[in-house]
Assembly symmetry: D2
Homo-oligomer: 268 residues x 4
């Protein structure tokens, strides 16, 4: 049983509920629903910050390149980027494949949802500022270099499904002990876990809020693991994070996003 | 052909499109859709103000009561009320019938969507501050008296479907010449037209902005005509405003709102 | 020592601080300031709901009138109204006196700041949904009757100073035991206390959320006590609520609001 | 005479006015004020996007480096970054100099304020989507390399003064013919003009909206010219853009930002 907050499409109210049966049932106002009966809207309200190079494996892969020009040494601080609101999308909404592109790259990330204004937070207080956890698919076009600010690849309309819900912070005992699994058409393409971080969550929150304020409703991604899978038109993508849930989206040609059928949940 | 703005459920972008074939087809980005294929979200972003007693017929009906205590004369200025955001709902979203209630009252209203900050606007400039028109169903529980501020009856969750879209202001030559028709289960229950106003649109905008500022995205209802129809559980309600569109919603017990089927559009 | 949240003019960050010395000093990020050195912005972000007829004295005064037409009995539920955002103003911002008016009426109210989505809250859980307390001056033009929805009198631009800050909920042991005092030009004109409520805070929250959802950031006023003082051009108005603070504003002709000097705090 | 929109501190209303006498006088509601009498708040409401490498001079300076690793060729599309809302600040608000830093770098930019949802806009229609122009000081800590996403240097609290106002789009005949001038303590430190762009405004808007949607209220910077001046504690910085106005801010130690005097406008 997991307590969550969420928003349903067409309703202005943020609702509370309790998940059970492996995320397949939800109880809202003492009434039980199949999760698949409900249409979840994006549950977040603030700015979404991604974090680069925070998975150890990704870091090791890029280390040779980082010791080369122009940097000649690895970064000393978390490197952040922003997914603007035109990218925000929902559980079951299609991911638009742009005309002329073959594939998109899937970025499976645990999102920390900020609960109160956070400035210069000490690592030991970090969890006081996190109100919950969600799943974010930080979609991008395949990028050849991690250097150049990649807004054109990462900030396209619909390139950031979020949800389906926010799991309350107190529900997860150890957020560094969660398996992350990406499936494409039901086949597991990537596995990692949230313990593989260079900066664990408390240090990440502390280092980021050292130089910038996070506000209630903002989301900070802990990073995206190495070896991101690719997905092509028609593929059904599912990101599962243990204890948090599953976020499912189908890749659809950009001309078809408004009328694509709600995908049957075969990825589960 | 009518140019409109709208928001689709699950998408953060406000979109533009062109309606044709009696509101049954819409062209977006040069591609044509059946309107029924799309799921429209609430298209408005600001505060929604209702106007009491602006239809001549409603005013005549209440005149005897108004000359009685406690007022003893009719109001000299527009009387406004606010539908707060917990009431906002969408085309095809169910209207929740509260436990213990038999019926809801349908309030068919043309909404003026404000296009820029409006303070002390002269009547002759009023249309410069209106960017478009939408349909609002100002639902309430049946009210015995128009006097007492009726938040409990009018401000319930889901009691204000809006949409499906905003028709651009330039598309409607004479907004005082539009038929308003409410159908319940396909049968016309109320007919009126927007010419029956005590304060026509320019005067209404001028008198309201004389004492309060309207912001871009706010919506001002021109009023609700007399003889509001009632609807009970299971009823399919449709408000049609000529040149603007049709707003359809089914009345559902409040415990069933999250899982009611999208109603087939039989009211048309 | 009282922990508060607030916003300063020109800064986007909501800040935390600790008040001491009878609200005259504040410590922010380990640095101490005189409260008068700082320019406080409006600390709230949601919808502001007022409550009519919740002070016992006000109720007694109006009872004869309520037993008369058109109601013939007192209201059975809390009667709410909304102050729209055009009314929102700040500590030390001038209150505009409209051309042609002699006086404004001061409405001293304790505001309950909502901390999370509140639907059908039980009275015994009400404080879990309140994140803090603030002071609201619900200004209006003098109103002869409490019946007619009074937007024209109550919803004028600048007619709702709020602040200076939000006192954290845990800081106040008994919110029904606070003296409320309104001074005009340093002279006490009205005294009451928050224990005089018909519906105490838990019942009020419960009855309101029975029929409508309150969202985080919304503010619910507990009511305005009877015998509201009047203030004329040039008057310095101060509302003091014990343990919460003081909210000071000068009444200024509406043509002078943008350039009025920040009033010296002589009302204290 | 220039028509502008702006927001004053402490007021919720966006106002309109007319500037005259070299930006020293402003007429609001038929009343004239000295600009220095008013306290301007940040006039924008959406996301702020910066553009890298859009001034020809900056591009020429970096060309040798760009032909080196890791890119080996100049970028083919506009490179964008985002200034998040924690950075937003106002005319006359202090710029915080972080502890341990000697100087900040001044980024003088013309901001295009978006007037309606902009997706895949053609260059010839670009001005239809711009509602006005403002001045942005894109402050950063000095950056040694333009490659690494520079959120830590550019996204610090208070590092983005904006304003004082938005000049209506129709007021400026040729936005590519405006002198930009940065003064520090009254001495001109940088001069450039808006004609020196690699991508002129219509092409920039077209190329950006090709891959992402801009919303009403968003701001897109046209770029920052080469040879950005530095400023140290106590310096008074003024950015002047011809026909648009002057944006003035003093650099202050980060511990002093809340109580710094409003700087006398000696930079003019």
């Amino acid at each position: 049983m997991t307590r969550v907050n969420f928003k349903l499409q067409g309703f202005s109210q943020l609702k509370e509920g309790t998940l059970h049966d492996d995320f397949q049932k939800i109880t809202i106002d003492e009434k039980q629903y199949n999760v698949d009966q409900l249409k979840f809207d994006n549950p977040i309200t603030g700015t979404l910050y991604g974090t680069l190079l925070n998975y150890k494996g990704e870091y090791e892969q890029l280390k040779p390149e980082m010791n080369d020009k122009p940097y000649q040494k690895p970064p000393q601080a978390p490197i952040l980027y922003i997914k603007p609101i035109n990218t925000f999308s929902t559980h079951h909404n299609p991911i638009p494949l742009p005309e002329g592109e073959e594939q998109v790259q899937i970025g499976a990330a645990l999102g920390l949802v900020v609960g109160q204004t956070a400035t210069k937070v000490k690592a030991e207080d970090a969890y006081d500022y996190i109100k919950g956890y969600t799943i974010v698919n930080d979609v991008s076009l395949p990028i050849s270099s991690y250097y150049r600010p990649a807004i054109k690849q990462k900030a396209r309309d619909g390139f950031c499904p979020i949800g389906p819900w926010v799991v309350n912070q107190g529900e997860i005992r150890d957020p560094h002990n969660l398996a992350i699994r990406v499936s494409v058409n039901g086949e597991v393409k990537q596995e990692n876990y949230t313990g593989n971080l260079i900066r664990p969550i408390p240090e990440l929150v502390s280092e980021v809020t050292e130089f910038m304020t996070l506000y209630e409703g903002d989301v900070l991604l802990i990073g995206v693991p190495e070896n991101q899978p690719l997905a092509k038109e028609g593929d059904q993508v599912s990101i599962e994070i243990e204890q948090v849930g599953r976020l499912n989206n189908r890749v659809v040609h950009e001309d078809d996003v408004f009328v694509s059928e709600v995908a049957v949940d075969e990825a589960r």
